[in-house]
Symmetry: C2
Subunit: 494 residues, 2 copies
């Protein structure tokens, strides 16, 4: 393509990007199907279909013409969106070509083996069963980082996959601050916290009634069911399959409709973001990053869904739907109960971040080769004791609880806490920009909130880097102070 | 690959065939999703995903290495299954490479345009709106036949796509016989047929109750829900997505649970066939042909589902489920009512074949250029009057009723009637082989039936050509006499 103009090269990239996006959409659809609709006996055939589509996507991502087009198109000055697209295409392409096809295949194989061993280890409640294969996974993660290359340290290369620009240095600064501030806050909360109210006794909440209620909440929050679905699955997730096709999932917990509801609201936050980007097949039409995504789910789940205004409006519908007569103060006490525990996914919004910080520190030390996989149960015990004040009783409640490492995902956990940091900062800015927002939430009107997020976050896609996006949306650089202030104010003046 | 042995070539073909099958499985999954789960606003994005996966499948099908492998592997004597696989791989490959990629793309484009115009023509109830684009579709079908080449006449090349080995000469022989025999049979039936019983008045049958009942029937017939699903859609279909993943669909008609039930039983017949093949990614693990597939759905729908033994067992459960008190003789009269009409998909099992014969004759004459597209409404009127004795009142009930031609499908219709011919012949042989089958059906036991079909049809995949498969299963060459006898016996001794 020696005679291609830079405009032609840009158009070629655009076309390629769209095809890659739709092909990845097929992969996403297959993934959704595996978790929602696939019959049990299809698992093996689907896993083969899964590797086929993964290879097709991977091959498309490393198409050498992309390199040539990027070079040609790069010789020009472009407007904001186009230049962001070029930056992100380059980023994606360079990441993709750095991993040899063999390595990607081996990693996928190891992941499926590690997942099986992890399940066996869980059955036997014995981290020792998982340790050898986890050591292999860590070794491959180190090798992956080396393929990607890095300026600072190895772990940086992996953090950057999930959150562009994130480094160990930045994580340490944010998380050290968070940890030092949170530990005393939690102690203080625990001193003054009232009894946990028993809202439902031994009542049973049928899935079909919950489905109706959750669907209505998601729709009220702004989820467009003409361009999406809500289905049941075991581990809820959101999948932005294509333009006009965002699928959220939930899990109906028959003894506690609030657990279900917060899971639905969380996924609705993700879903609104996916429905809010243009999904035009370019980076500018995609969600910015994992942590920004998580900020959207957390903001809806915690700042909004666990706030008093939300329940001022929603409680009567809840009581009506389920035949309960729950009191507003009791709901607030129940949904904002702080209880340091062993299980991350059951953690409240205050202690949750400490669970993440522990995983971050372990990942960092593993990647630095300053810690051995076999030390994990001990380190886990020590850190949970030190940060959360709880005793790890066994591996199931300890280092075997998360699926992520079995899947080779190192660098993913930090985005959860960073999402909380972003969410609090965004909610703070929203209230400053739109002082009426809390009264509109109390009136069951989510348009102000939704419109602000659309304008500040959704429409920008990947045009800005995550920290720049948050800074532009809120007027301040990313800081943990908003999260600390939010938690202090909410929990210590309750 | 100059030094490849024929065993190596066979193994390469096997691996390629599996990958092609799983990739086609992705395409099937996307198709299922479009008709069952896709949110309405995703239509455009899904149609782009659809063309991408179609192109991937098409490119894989014409991979030139297949030609070389076939040549190398062909130099050897192979056992039955392997030699059938080689024959069918060759068949598929030669068909695929004969169509230029451009032509396939243009045909797909024209099909989507023609489908839209067909819908517009239906809205305006005016065949004239559809005629110009249909003329283009017919021209492309002629060109397609020319690409494929043929010994006898053009239409043969298209018939052979849907039913390997089928020719105009064979169709004419079968259909002329069928037509001459059926017309007097229908006249005789109409003379003696009692009043149509009104079973349900204005009762309403909620979809969820019907879903429970239909699911139970499908399971009783042998459909394995661990390896399949039953969902609702507008136009029911069956999709064998992969090994362990067969999806059948139905449509809940709230005023008539029998209509729903027969649609479910029909698709269950298809579904049992898909679940009965090995689905190992080779031709020997695939269903034999369209007409053999249709014979399975028709056999379950008509010979079994509309037979007295089936209802002797099922009626009490039906009455219990829906709170009705329908009488066995009335059900038999209702489900076996013969009523010459204008709409193919509403036709009873006797007149249905005449609808197909009319379409066959029209397709043949269009392909022979002995008829012009613009003549179709007139020809339609004349043939419906002559064969079925009914007056075509408008195009919606006439030449605009079927979607097939808008999709470029010429040569497909004949497989419906051929399926009926096969079904009657199979049912005849089954009763001879297993004289106890009717009493086991009357006891609600479908194992004899299912086991016989498995042994005679399912396990053979595409090892034999369709007519050979039927002959081996029944001990006689394919003949319309079994269908005529079955209909005479059932309807003229009632």
């Amino acid at each position: 393509m020696p005679d291609q103009t830079s405009e032609e090269a840009y158009r070629s990239l655009l076309q390629h990007s769209r095809e890659l996006t739709w092909t990845a959409g097929l992969q996403a659809l297959l993934g959704w199907d595996q978790q929602v609709t696939m019959p049990p006996e299809a698992a093996e055939a689907h896993s083969m279909m899964s590797s086929i589509i993964a290879r097709i996507v991977q091959r498309k991502a490393v198409d050498p013409r992309v390199g040539a087009w990027l070079q040609t198109a790069g010789s020009e000055e472009w407007a904001l969106t186009e230049s962001a697209n070029l930056r992100e295409w380059k980023r994606d392409y360079e990441k993709a070509v750095k991993l040899p096809e063999d390595f990607v295949a081996k990693q996928a194989e190891l992941a499926s083996k590690a997942y099986e061993v992890w399940q066996q280890a869980r059955e036997r409640n014995d981290f020792g069963v998982f340790a050898p294969v986890l050591a292999e996974v860590v070794a491959m993660a180190r090798q992956e980082a080396d393929y990607y290359q890095y300026d600072g340290e190895r772990y940086d290369a992996l953090l950057d996959i999930f959150e562009p620009g994130l480094t160990v240095v930045r994580c340490e600064a944010l998380f050290a601050d968070l940890r030092h501030q949170l530990i005393p806050v939690i102690r203080e909360i625990l001193k003054s916290q009232p009894e946990k109210p028993d809202l439902f006794g031994s009542m049973d909440f049928p899935a079909d009634r919950q489905a109706v209620f959750n669907r209505r909440v998601a729709a009220d929050l702004g989820f467009d069911f003409e361009a999406g679905r809500l289905d049941e699955t075991i581990h809820p997730f959101t999948n932005g399959i294509a333009c006009g096709d965002t699928r959220i999932t939930t899990n109906y917990r028959l003894a506690d409709p609030l657990d279900t509801l917060f899971s639905t609201i969380h996924e609705t936050g993700h879903g609104l973001y996916e429905q809010g980007v243009s999904a035009d097949g370019t980076p500018a039409g995609q969600a910015c990053s994992m942590a920004v995504h998580e900020s959207q789910s957390r903001l809806y789940e915690n700042e909004v869904g666990k706030g008093r205004p939300f329940w001022q409006h929603r409680l009567s519908a809840f009581n009506r739907e389920f035949g309960t007569s729950v009191d507003l103060d009791d709901v607030m006490r129940r949904v904002n109960r702080v209880e340091p525990g062993l299980i991350r996914i059951k953690a409240d919004e205050v202690t949750y971040n400490l669970h993440i910080i522990i995983r971050f520190e372990i990942e960092r030390d593993l990647l630095r080769e300053e810690m051995d996989v076999t030390d994990m149960p001990r380190v886990w015990r020590e850190k949970y004791k030190e940060y959360l004040g709880v005793e790890v009783t066994d591996d199931l409640c300890g280092a075997l609880q998360d699926v992520h490492w079995s899947d080779g995902l190192f660098g993913y956990f930090p985005t959860y806490a960073l999402g909380n940091v972003y969410a609090a900062q965004l909610f703070h800015a929203l209230k400053k920009d739109m002082p009426e927002v809390e009264s509109s939430l109390a009136a069951g009107d989510f348009k102000t909130l939704h419109g602000w997020l659309r304008e500040k976050i959704y429409v920008h896609g990947r045009v800005y880097m995550p920290d720049e996006l948050i800074e532009r949306a809120t007027g301040s650089p990313v800081s943990t102070s908003y999260l600390i202030d939010y938690l202090r104010k909410k929990y210590l003046s309750m």
